[in-house]
Symmetry: C2
Subunit: 629 residues, 2 copies
């Protein structure tokens, strides 16, 4: 069927269900959504459940948008005139994708008004659908810039979404039915995650990361299964860590033109980390594989989805994200293929334990035949100590170091471990378990923390409450000091005993190298690893006992400081949690693939799952294709 005929048919169906007196002037696919244009947005809003009923019956994500959206500047003025001054509006973000205006206010209740009256008044006045959130306690430059940029390309983006929408809803033509997964990276190794999910109709790339500490850092993007890249329907990101998203902009350089799906938090973190990655790479005098132009291209073509929203991303594939508990916005990507044909999930990195930041990963799915799970700690002996023990050990290490007049260096990814350690240290000082020294944050950690407070809905309820409780936001504790210049860094290195949390997490470049350069010779200091160190990284080497780090032209660094590894802070499930997760999976899958772990861990986890649960398992190698059905 021609797409125009299909839209006509949908419009007729909608008109049948919509009460008389509500006008439906047009329907259009925009990205994964079906947009209903109307002269009567208010009436639509008043009909309780109408949109829900339409979504259910048409099996589409429905958005209602007024035919004319008022000019954002005028609309902003009108909002300000309707809302009482006491609301403390700090920002408004008009999102043309959704026709929503995001109103950030210090007192969201005042914007909403008694029983929502103020909100209704706004809708009536301006057409845009208002959404009210509490002003993030820490302002993120990244988020601000992303919103600005998206506003500046809104016409281009609208055209893009229309094209993608029509592509998603094209006819299914093949009479063959099969589902395959091709492994393009991250098998029997940690890093360069990239998986191709394909059917006779569609091709979806899941993640596209770099390999830390390796010169073969790129997934196998040149193989014919995926090349040319413009044959891909979509890229789907699980989370923002660079081993999962660093090379997304590269896809646009190589000819990809489609959308990249992620949660909103993942998108913002990914852009921040990609820009940082470019800087780190070029500081190391390596050739950056892409420029910020391609990061913008990615941003322009990103489509964000919240947890739980079932979304058409190809004619025969629906994507739903679920909480993965790993970092902010991290998701398990669940794909429903065909009309009940097959269900396959990619765990991404996930944590089945509860942390200070997040709830545990989802183990319940409507349907599930196959799951790809990470196996970073999949080995039989990869048992992590409890979170509590890890924290005690950290407190002890800090006490020891500070007492002897030393400094503590904690290398960490900007996103994830850093915030977990920050919360631990803040509580330690608050409860007098460790001395109140400064905690310096270098690299993107501060900015990453700001993004956390912009998306409080991804944090667990206790932390969310704490953040918005006046004066209790742990991230705002005055122990935390941002390092944002070489001069400050020098002062930190030469200054009082303190704690330094800094990137990169595996010592593959970044400011941590400066701190080592300044502090490694002194045995009073301590280097504490709190995260996984991949094979081939400098972090892994130092863990193994290297006593000297070559620094190229700058000579080398002698390692005299104390080295400790504190397990238990990981954002990954350990071996026990992985087995428990498989056991709790509901429904129980028919096949489990173990990925994102070194060779031994992946194989060990696969064979243990098979032995314990009699589920078919594989520890695939890179460049293989598995037929699911």
């Amino acid at each position: 069927m021609l797409i125009e005929e299909r839209l006509k048919e949908l419009k007729d169906k909608i008109n049948d269900k919509v009460p008389a007196g509500i006008n439906v002037s047009n329907v259009e696919f925009e990205g994964p959504e079906l947009v209903i244009y109307t002269d009567d947005p208010k009436k639509f809003a008043d009909e309780a459940d109408l949109i829900k009923v339409l979504a259910r019956d048409l099996r589409k994500r429905i958005v209602v948008r007024p035919n004319v959206l008022e000019d954002p500047e005028l609309a902003a003025k009108e909002i300000k005139s309707v809302v009482p001054d006491g609301a403390g509006i700090t920002d408004m973000f008009f999102d043309p994708d959704t026709g929503e205006v995001l109103i950030e206010a210090e007192k969201p209740g005042v914007v909403i008004g008694k029983n929502g009256t103020t909100l209704r008044d706004i809708t009536k006045e301006i057409g845009w659908t208002p959404k009210v959130v509490r002003t993030p306690p820490i302002e993120s430059t990244t988020v601000k810039q992303i919103r600005q940029y998206l506003r500046s390309v809104k016409d281009e983006r609208k055209e893009f979404l229309r094209t993608i929408g029509r592509r998603i809803h094209r006819d299914v033509t093949s009479k063959d039915k099969w589902v395959r997964v091709t492994t393009l990276g991250c098998c029997r190794e940690v890093g360069r995650a990239a998986f191709l999910l394909s059917t006779p109709e569609s091709k979806i790339l899941i993640d596209c990361g770099e390999k830390p500490g390796s010169t073969e850092g790129v997934p196998y993007l040149y193989v014919p299964e995926i090349y040319p890249l413009n044959t891909l329907d979509a890229v789907v990101l699980t989370h923002a860590h660079l081993d999962h998203c660093a090379l997304v902009p590269l896809l646009y350089r190589y000819g990809f033109e489609g959308p990249v799906y992620s949660t909103p938090a993942t998108r913002d973190l990914a852009v921040m980390l990609q820009l940082d990655y470019l800087e780190v790479v070029s500081n190391e005098a390596n050739q950056a594989p892409y420029t910020s132009k391609e990061v913008q291209e990615y941003l322009k073509k990103s489509i964000v989805l919240n947890y739980g929203s079932v979304t058409d991303i190809a004619p025969d594939i629906k994507l739903t994200y679920h909480n993965a508990g790993h970092i902010l916005g991290s998701a398990i990507a669940h794909f429903h293929v065909g009309d009940g044909l097959y269900n396959i999930a990619f765990s991404g990195d996930f944590n089945y334990g509860k942390t200070r930041l997040f709830g545990p990963a989802t183990s319940q799915f409507p349907r599930l035949e196959t799951i790809f799970v990470e196996s970073t700690y999949g080995g039989a002996n990869d048992i992590q100590p409890s979170k509590k023990d890890a924290e005690e050990k950290l407190y002890e290490a800090v006490n020891t170091t500070i007492k002897r007049g030393g400094k503590v260096i904690i290398p960490a990814f900007a996103v994830g471990r850093s915030q977990e350690v920050m919360l631990t240290l803040e509580e330690g000082m608050r409860l007098d378990k460790i001395p109140k020294v400064k905690v310096y944050l270098d690299g993107m950690i501060k900015e990453a923390t700001a993004i956390h407070t912009t998306y409080p809905e991804y944090l667990n309820p206790e932390l969310r409450k704490q953040i918005f409780q006046d004066g209790m936001n742990p991230f705002l504790s005055d122990c935390f000091v941002q390092v944002d210049s070489p001069a400050i860094r020098e002062n930190v290195i030469g200054g009082e005993p303190s704690i330094i949390i800094t990137t990169s997490g595996m010592l593959s470049g970044g400011p941590v190298m400066e701190y080592l350069n300044g502090l490694a010779a002194d045995e009073k200091n301590m280097l504490i690893f709190v995260g996984y160190q991949a094979d081939g990284t400098m972090g892994r080497r130092i863990q193994k006992g290297w006593k000297e780090i070559p620094m190229g032209r700058r000579g080398s660094i002698v390692i005299n400081l104390e080295i400790q590894t504190i397990d238990g802070f990981s954002g990954h499930s350990d071996r026990n949690q992985l087995m428990r997760y498989i056991n709790h999976l509901n429904p129980r899958p028919e096949k489990v693939f173990t990925i994102h772990g070194d060779e031994k861990s992946a194989i060990d986890l696969a064979s243990s799952i098979y032995k314990r649960f009699r589920i078919e398992t594989h520890a695939p190698r890179n460049l293989e294709t598995y037929r699911m059905i």
Copy 2:
């Protein structure tokens, strides 16, 4: 390196090794060969081992060709004037690919002359290298037409070989090293054989067959691993059965432009069977997937290799064919990848038992890490009776039927079982084990038999001797009568008790349907299955007990005649032979993949091989990719 530089370098090396006084005017890649052009072909020929030494040192297949090849017509005249009349020259075939002239003579010894004197005289006179063979006792129209056609396109072909030669010898550029196999058909099923062998440099398609008795008869040629087809470096055929080669011409329709490798016998049989396939398909009012034009295209781009010749077919892949013992020209294709990187063999269909026609399949390889083996009779219970028992059973069935005044119908592939059964029946009559009735050959059987006698070097020594012994050629026994018109067919059906060997072997069309139409109602007659009947074919259905065959507009055929299945004539290894073959493989491979068998057989064989030999096995599914290294 540019190809011109490489040729220059090769020419210099050759000049270093060639004795003074022998001119090397040019060297050129033509297909897989390195051709040395010279003014002194005679001197080259006189230097014992010179070509062998060059081939070994340069690791290339070397052909020496005079700068000027005399015009074939003139050369033919000169040959006739040099050779004594008594030689009985019946044909000469000038092959511009090789610079050879094939002289067919009734008395080859006379052409060669005492101590080869006559042969040397010929060389001196005409430049072409003479090769003398005994005149085939049965003339094949197919072979004649193929030779004629190749002669007519020799300039085009030369250009093609030059292009392919340069493509084969292009530089290796990738720093990645991997070897993969993608299954495009024939997994957990019998039919539509098609496997993709790929490296970062090269893509080789092994076989491209149809699936008998199925509407989903085509391998998965549309998947991105193989599409577009002009990215393929070569197609490599194991043998001429239609489930392995029927769709090769289709590749040219879909954009393939490269060479198809096979043994010479496979090429000739394949062309014959493809043309027959076109006729059968169009008789059934189906749309033929290609025309005879594409068969010609295949022929024009075919490159033939004999057993044991190690040949570059891609920058990083060498192909060697070995005897498979299955049908005339059938081969195990052995691929040596990279410089000692990996060795992988595809058995094609193979017989590890000796038959009246062929020696057993090769089990010895210089190196071998992985083998794909057929599993037609791979099930635990697929034990075939001995050849001797099968023959006794056939004699008994013939005696019973003839005695009661009936006719015996033996459906068989034109190539393989037919000749085996012919030889059995001829001996039965000669030794008075069965009455001397007529054996009618319908379909392409006679022509296929002629091709057998054209390539005696593929037959086992005993049969080869018998064929060339005057008056003893079993194929020329006057019990065999060719059926080549509907009128004769009617006479056979209405005539005396007799035996009819006819195509198609699985009752999926062809003249066998006419015989059933005329003879199935009479219970005096007998239908004897001597070959494998694939799932979904009419043959399998009748074996299972169907009593009526629908014939479309022509109503249906009632089955009253007696049905017998005589196992043991198969051209395939049975379960015991398969296990013995794996046991005898030298060297022992690291991995075995079982293919070309129904699901149960493939899985059963794989798991038995693993249990008995502790070799890693897989029974792959279609559309999977396995990483070898």
